[in-house]
Amino acid sequence: MKIHWKVLLGVLLVLLVSTMAFSYERNETLVYGGGLWGAPTNWNPLTPWGEVTGTGGLVYEYLFHYYPLTDEYQPWLAVKGEWVTPKVYEVELRKGVKWTDGKSFTAEDVVFTFEVAKNNALHYSNVWEWIVSVEAVSPTKVKFVFGDEPHYQEWKNIIYDLRILPKHIWANMSPEEYLSTANANPVGTGPYMADSTGQDRMVWVRNDNWWGNDVFGQPKPKYLVNLVVNSNNVALGMLMKGELDLSNYFIPGVPKIKDTFGLTTWYKGKPYMLSENSALLFLNTTKGAMKDAAFRKALAFAINPEIIVERVFENQVEVANPTGLFGEGWMKYYDETVAEAYGFSYDPTKAIEILDENGFVDVNGDGWRDDKNGNAMKFEIIVPNGWTDWMESIKVIANNFQAIGINAVPSFPDYGIYMNRIQDGSFDMCINNFASSRSSTPFTYWNWVATDEIDGKLVTDGNYSRYDDDELFTLIDEFNRMQDTDKGIMEKASEIQKKLLTAMPSIPLWYNGLWAQSTSNVWTNWATEDNPTGYPCSWAGKMQFGFVEMLIELESAQ
């Protein structure tokens, strides 16, 4: 019986065999995880929501990289980009860049990347509403001509967010394929190429002919192995054993054990992690007492984010400022006087005061405050089931509300139901942070917390509060159409902040961290506060923030 099993096991193993017998040298390999949540299946740069992390950044590159810590643009495929007139933007491209199939990278590729969205429905097709033309002036120069009011702020975002495609490959595809191809052998210009895949991993191999070797230096790891690690406890176990070089998971307990196991985090002490996005409590302004700005403001005063930060996140995150802005790119527009005058902080007495003043008192004597008409109020705060840190957070928030006499209960619907409810408006309060990530312009943030796309049956682009204020929408739109150097842009930004703080449709709570823990068994010289040589983030679509730079600066531990 047992012998039979050995035979069968052998046969099955043979089935598992791929053609090459091979193993990667550990000291040439970077093992990381946190951005890959299932078997790699898609390397299509036109579907950034589904691509294997690294497709953008490691294989396909951008015109610019953006360094969030210094708020600087690093010329990448472009060497220079500037507004030659208020309606013309010119890009000078890098010479000598080659696609990994040997063809040269030219201005035609950039033009194609934009043109393809003109004739096909792609996620960035809307740029053609305000771009007039994209031309290749020379093989290394592209000229963008804009309409009347260029979306300057949005453009700032596009130039480091749009993956440039090789025309000679994509022009031969049928339009149906643009969204449906898996693009299993991606041809890019980047420092890495797809090497092999497994059910639980994606392996990248270094492109030794990368143009950047001469410009920035060569990335140190010959191989990048991106592992699927399903849970943070396994990730922690692997970190403890030195099996994982870099982990981008939220891992409870890291502050407690980081020194014992020699883990590196960005900051040595609190808050350990860089901030990556703002977590906000959205209040459904179409419902009951939440229609009332004073009531919403009172809620803001009632929440004690310190407790959440301390207990739930063990100080791995920071409390948000009242505007929700953070990071160099956004903070240059932060208006401290506005924040102080119209902002809030944890102050339950103040909250009670506001509620009492505005007539939100307990009329029926059940211990809970009632609305202005004396009707009982009850609120439900939702976050997706299984999102443990958020689940704990809304328990705290519910307690805070209960403490000032507002009947609020936490509730954890499944993710699908949660999504449904925030999109169709059948919720009271929810936490969300889906598009509040760091960027070069606060426009992306404001355009998400207060987007005007709230008239449809479903609200999918942010502003789950459904806060309807044309004045605010106009302000944000005007901000988009201004250059950073324009006069009056600061005032515009201040007005937006003032508006959001007085109306308080959503309450900034804390900044979710860029979770990053690394071990030093194989690689050292990690990017940290003291050694800000990169951005240790392997999440999809974020590699242009300094991940490649970090790879270049890594040093082998041997």
């Binding site: 099993w5 898609n42 929501w49 960035y124 639980d200 849970s231 176990g237 699908g416 999918t460 679509g541």
Partner: protein, 329 residues
Amino acid sequence: MKKYLGKKIFIYLITFFFAVTIDWAIPRFMPGDPIQMLLSRFQGMEGGREIIQAQITASFGLDRPLLEQYFNFWVSLFKGDLGTSIYAFPKPVMDVINQAIIFDILLLVPSILLSWIAGNKLGAFSGVNKKADKYMMPFFYFLTSSPYFWFAVVVVFFFGVQLPWFPISNAYSATMRPAFTIDFILDFLHHWFLPFLTLFLVQLGGWAIGMRNMIIYEMGSNYSKYMESLGASEKLIRKYAFRNGVLPQVTGLAIRLGNIIAGALTTQIVFSYPGLGFILLKAIQNQDYFLVQGCFLFIIIFVLLANFTVDIIYMFIDPRVRFSYSGEV
């Protein structure tokens, strides 16, 4: 015999039809929209999401009437096409499952069979040996009472973290590439061992208990007494008791299969082991209709086939089932 088989096959076909229909219906009754889910965390340009959403929805045929979707589902099912995964887009569901299922087979089949064999042997020993039974029985109970995932966590703690003998996640080392070499096989087995051990031990407890009870029961049965009166040796009686005791254990195998699969699922999650369980969970979380459907379909077919096999084996080893006459009360 032929009639019996024909009847069984008929029943299994009906079962298959119902199960597959329910399987098709389940994901579609789920609230939420898988496409919204897919795009939920996509931070794109203003209005960009709407453009692609319509495109993707149409490409999956999700804009068609439900009945038409159901009909198309059966048609493509007979062509062996389970559709395209939304979550693992654009991979066909069949490919996703095919690549994962090897890990399930390597984990499930040896653990089921070895634990069944070892459990029956140990249980039989415990059943006839009163002294050993005293210590072994509580141990078996402990094993079978443990939730799979909890046992996995304990195993990880002791043999992965405290004594770092075994890796605690994935199917093979990060630096390995699948190849038919000694190095790779050893590395694979090294990773395979702890999940296997978890499944093996928890199952073992159940089989051992079952066998132990059967042996004690059989040894006290009329038949054994009769044999004893005929002067049969203790050893012979044990042999017969074992043979009779194995019968219900065979049925037990089919009945518990669903349980074991669920156990394997949780175990795979603890170990980040890339099998079907892992994929199923992802599919459920992402409301990937087609992948959920495909995974359930495979599980259903697997369970049906196993049940059918057991039915047939049973028919051969116990001729009585062939003629289960009606009695009258």
